[in-house]
């Protein structure tokens, strides 16, 4: 963080959200919604949680923009690898 100007990030609020999302995930996983929607919902919730951790606990929100770009850089590669290789079994 550049300076300690910004007030302390809402660490406990984030924790509460993470907690609620985890419970939500477990209940959603065993709900009777069609499997397809369960998968999509769970993935979205997991990404949401991951983003919260990166943004607040890893302080990405308070870093310069270029750190943000740096941190995102491997993600396209991860997507390319999985999406392309999966085509083999379509």
């Amino acid at each position: 963080m550049s300076t300690s100007e910004h007030k302390q990030p809402p660490y406990m609020t984030v924790w509460a959200v993470l907690f609620v999302l985890t419970i939500g995930e477990v209940f959603f996983a065993f709900s009777s919604v069609p499997k397809r929607w369960i998968v999509i919902g769970l993935v979205l919730m997991a990404i949401w949680k991951a983003v919260l951790v990166a943004m607040y606990y890893m302080h990405l929100r308070f870093e310069p923009k270029r750190m943000w770009i740096l941190a995102m850089s491997p993600l396209p590669l991860a997507v390319i690898l999985v999406v392309v290789v999966i085509q083999e079994w379509r």
């Binding site: 302390q8 924790w15 065993f30 997991a46 951790v53 850089s73």
Partner: protein, 216 residues
Amino acid sequence: MMTTQAATIDRVREEGSGVYTLKLGMWIFLLSEVMFFTGLIGSYIILRFAHPTDFADPGQVLNVQLTAFNTFVLICSSVTMVKAFAAIEQGDQVGLKRWLLATIILGAFFVGVQVVEYIALTSEGFVPMAEAYAALGREHGTTVIGGPLYGATFYMMTGFHGTHVTIGVLCLMFTYWRARQGKYTATSHGGVEIMGLYWHFVDLVWILLFTIVYLI
């Protein structure tokens, strides 16, 4: 660092990343970790897509309740870690040590639960070895559920994550030891911050793993 060359104290390096070198280094290291877990998790997704019947529905083989609790433990350890960092930012050495200790305990607890889980699972025939694989369902009694890829990918992913947590706990102990020596102050605590970055990253990976491996 900027001040090591006494003669050139007035000369300032080019602006680089805007963050100090140690932190930048940790972030860059974490990028390679992202790719490492991409290889493992990606392989799991691909293999599961290719062989859906080799894998079981959530709760059939794996113990979701226990692991959900463990996930909660790891999330709490992230909070304690970030509290430790917040404490030293204010120069609060006592707080730093207290929160670090809490993080160590929570992290070690997580690993312990995982070991217990592994023991239970292997005794049910859920093993990584292809020839020996014979996972029994939680409720379904004796039919073998899933196939060898299930065991192999499960242990691969959770095992490497667990290794990361274990290494994290060891590093935390080192940080704690240095904190006790009073090495960290309100103005100098890069070590705590990068420790936190690593720890939260490991937590982040677990969040994804828990969803992908246990719930989907």
